[in-house]
């Protein structure tokens, strides 16, 4: 009997893990920005009768949630049937899901891959099946496959943001200690953002000490734990750049107890920047806690990708191959009033172009 009870406890534990895995990590398959705003973009093609497979690796951050909602609703508005597949950050499952989509004879595929390496494999599968594929925001690690890739110029956006942070830091009149929270470096975007940060650091050797690097692996808990350790070891951080805005709550949790979560102009303020341009960062810039954030134009990326994919499907192209660059920009304390309306996180609905 005791064994029976142990078994049932074990089974219940396994099921709880399953449920928590499903519900806790990245939400469900139908994601939303939660804004209630219209996030559709103009696909400019009639996709009535077409089926599009949309595979994404999760909807953990506001950027992904808004991007997923925008892509899904825009395709549906254009008349397409959308098959949503959430792989919950498992690249193997994403590959299986895309293969299952291909089995169903879809007309096109859109993916937000888990990382650049798995994107290469998935693009290869689509190419072999003669189905056009679009990759949103996370580019494949190499160009061996043919795909439409919408991606921000992450290095330049990061550079613009950090140039503003350097300008503010320069006013302190001394050498400053910078810290960067880096993303999962198997993601090309994370690499480019770090490179943009170092472009500015290396251009200002008299201003910056050797930077402290904090690994986050795009995981909030990991980021917070590592930042806590870094700040304990180096309490005199002057400049903090996070490779993604979604980490600001964790940054606040670490800095606030130390009296370092202060708005601009107040003693103890850490000069801070991020990247994404989400609503949290927008709000923190308005409140004065954050100095700048690099803005990826989510709606530009979604619209340019879906337009190109729609055109390829209409033209019967099976392997369109094009990179669609989102130039992005830095939203700062200095330009907030002019650029707020262009920042997706500040408006949620697509800004007028």
């Amino acid at each position: 009997m005791a064994k029976y009870n142990s078994l049932m406890i074990g089974a219940t534990a396994l099921v709880l893990i399953t449920a928590l895995t499903a519900c806790g990590s990245t939400g469900g398959s139908t994601s939303g920005s939660g804004s209630g705003e219209d996030t559709t973009v103009d696909v400019q093609s009639d996709l009535t009768g077409k089926t599009i497979c949309f595979g994404f690796s999760g909807s953990e951050t506001e950027f992904w949630a808004a991007g997923i909602e925008s892509i899904t609703t825009s395709l549906e508005k254009a008349g397409a049937k959308v098959i949503e597949q959430n792989s919950n950050e498992d690249p193997n499952r994403q590959l299986e899901q895309v293969r299952d989509c291909i089995t169903q004879g879809v007309d096109g595929i859109v993916i937000i891959p888990q990382d650049g390496a798995s994107a290469v494999t998935i693009v290869g599968e689509a190419n072999a099946a003669n189905i056009p594929i679009g990759v949103f925001n996370r580019p494949p690690a190499d160009e061996s496959g043919k795909a439409l890739v919408a991606v921000a110029d992450n290095r330049d956006v990061s550079k613009q943001t950090n140039e503003y942070l350097a300008e503010v830091a320069g006013k302190l009149g001394r050498k400053v200690q910078p810290l960067i929270m880096v993303g999962d470096l198997s993601d090309q975007n994370a690499l480019a953002r770090r490179d943009g940060f170092y472009d500015v650091i290396n251009a200002n050797p008299d201003l910056f000490e050797k930077p402290i690097e904090v690994q986050t692996n795009w995981d909030a808990a990991t980021g917070q734990a590592n930042l806590e350790a870094a700040v304990q070891a180096n309490p005199n951080i002057d400049v903090l750049f996070t490779s993604s805005d979604f980490l600001f709550p964790q940054i606040q949790a670490v800095l606030e107890p130390l009296g370092k979560w202060q708005p601009v102009g107040v003693e103890g303020h850490v000069i801070m920047g991020g990247l994404d341009g989400d609503s949290r960062a927008c709000g923190l810039i308005k409140d004065g806690y954050v100095d700048a954030t690099g803005v990826q134009d989510l709606f530009f990326e979604a619209e340019s990708l879906l337009k190109a994919l729609g055109a390829a499907i209409a033209a019967g192209e099976t392997a369109p191959d094009q990179t669609l660059i989102d130039p992005g920009f830095a939203l700062t304390q200095a330009n907030l009033s002019e650029r707020e309306k262009d920042t997706w996180g500040c408006v949620i609905a697509p800004p007028s172009k």
Binding site: L7, E96, L185
Partner: protein
């Protein structure tokens, strides 16, 4: 309405069982064996295929088989431990360590920006890749041998901890799951290792045409070997004896500790090989390859396949059928385009059902849960 008033076997000592009682008995035996799983798979496919677009198609069969081979290998490995009455929660973490280390050995090039601060940079690794970057097929074989050896050593560590110190397998392998995962991430700072030689990638991507892949050959060879070991060798008999009753087995002369360490070693070796198939089909070594839910699939498939969580019961055929059921289940849920959360809820319920089924089987076969 019929009221059952006698035991289902319906016969007392010395009496011949009636024909109906014999039929009931046969049915019960069938329900408790692999035949039930085989029927379950067929019934499920027949029931679901009208609603799942493309489920009965050549392309989908290839997909299902591609998903089956690595999982089946890992489940067969887990079978050795489950038959013994243990559990190996560290299989996914073992996959993470071994496939990442193997990829580092074989990588043809590594991005200095990404890997320069990792532990092996400047010694074993450089911008030109790993030590076997240019050694072709020979290097691939050597790297695989090293991966399997590492897997075997780590698996034997699990077995040693359980056998020598009498620690609960659940706690030991939960601990090593965390430990091995941490080492995997530490080795590459969570980076994936791409640029692998084509000879290596062929293992998971190549084949003889259609569904006849190298992965299939590897899985079937391992399964046949495992079946032989479990069914036709003293070691197999020792495993079952130890799983049914440890004390009796020891009194009967079964070298229990040696058997236990061997079982965990085999589990780890099979996990390593399954991991190689997963890694090569994705084209990169990954420190997080064995994700959160792989373990659930493995245990769920094993139990559905009739491998008892109480130990002492199970077969390689059952493990294989359990893996087929789980892969078909996942495939069909994808083809039904169900939301991600529903997929997990269904899988969770299937695991509970499998646990209940295990209890029912024990009762049918006269066990004492």
């Amino acid at each position: 309405m019929t009221t059952v008033t006698a035991p289902p076997n319906g016969a007392t000592k010395g009496e011949k069982p009636s024909r109906s009682a014999a039929r009931v008995n046969m049915l019960r035996r069938f329900m408790a064996g692999e035949g039930f799983v085989a029927v379950l798979i067929v019934v499920y496919i027949v029931a679901v295929s009208p609603f799942a677009s493309g489920m009965i198609s050549e392309r989908n069969a290839i997909n299902v088989l591609s998903n089956l081979w690595p999982l089946a290998i890992i489940v067969v490995g887990q079978t050795f431990v489950l038959v013994l009455g243990g559990i190996d929660l560290s299989q996914a973490a073992l996959i993470n360590i071994t496939n990442t280390f193997g990829a580092l050995l074989l990588a043809k090039a590594l991005n200095a920006n990404t890997f320069t601060s990792t532990i092996f940079w400047g010694t074993m690794l450089g911008a030109d890749g790993g030590p076997f970057a240019t050694t072709g097929g020979g290097g691939v074989i050597l790297a695989i041998l090293i991966m399997v050896t590492i897997g075997a050593l780590l698996g034997s560590l699990n077995g040693f901890a359980v056998a020598k110190f009498g620690m609960p397998p659940f706690m030991v392998t939960l601990g090593t799951l965390l430990l091995f995962n941490a080492i995997s991430v530490w080795m590459t700072h969570s980076e994936n290792v791409a640029a692998l030689p084509p000879e290596y990638l062929q293992i998971g991507q190549g084949g003889f045409g259609g569904p006849f892949t190298y992965a299939m050959v590897i899985a079937l060879v391992l399964a046949i070997a495992a079946h032989f070991v479990l069914s036709s060798t003293p070691f197999g008999r020792w495993l079952y004896a130890s799983g049914i009753n440890k004390k009796t087995a020891i009194i009967s002369g079964v070298p229990y500790k040696r058997v236990l360490i061997s079982a965990y070693t085999i589990s780890a070796v099979f996990a390593t090989i399954g991991g190689i198939l997963y890694s090569t089909r994705l084209g990169a070594g990954r420190p997080t390859l064995g994700g959160d839910t792989l373990l659930l699939d493995v245990i769920g498939a094993a139990v559905i396949g009739g491998i008892s969580l109480f130990g002492g019961k199970g077969s390689v055929l059952g493990a294989f059928l359990g893996a087929i059921f789980f892969v078909v289940l996942s495939n069909s849920l994808n083809l039904l385009n169900l939301p991600f959360t529903i997929v997990f809820i269904v899988k969770g319920l299937v695991i509970i059902a499998a646990a209940l089924l295990d209890v029912a089987r024990r009762r049918v076969l006269g066990g004492t849960p």
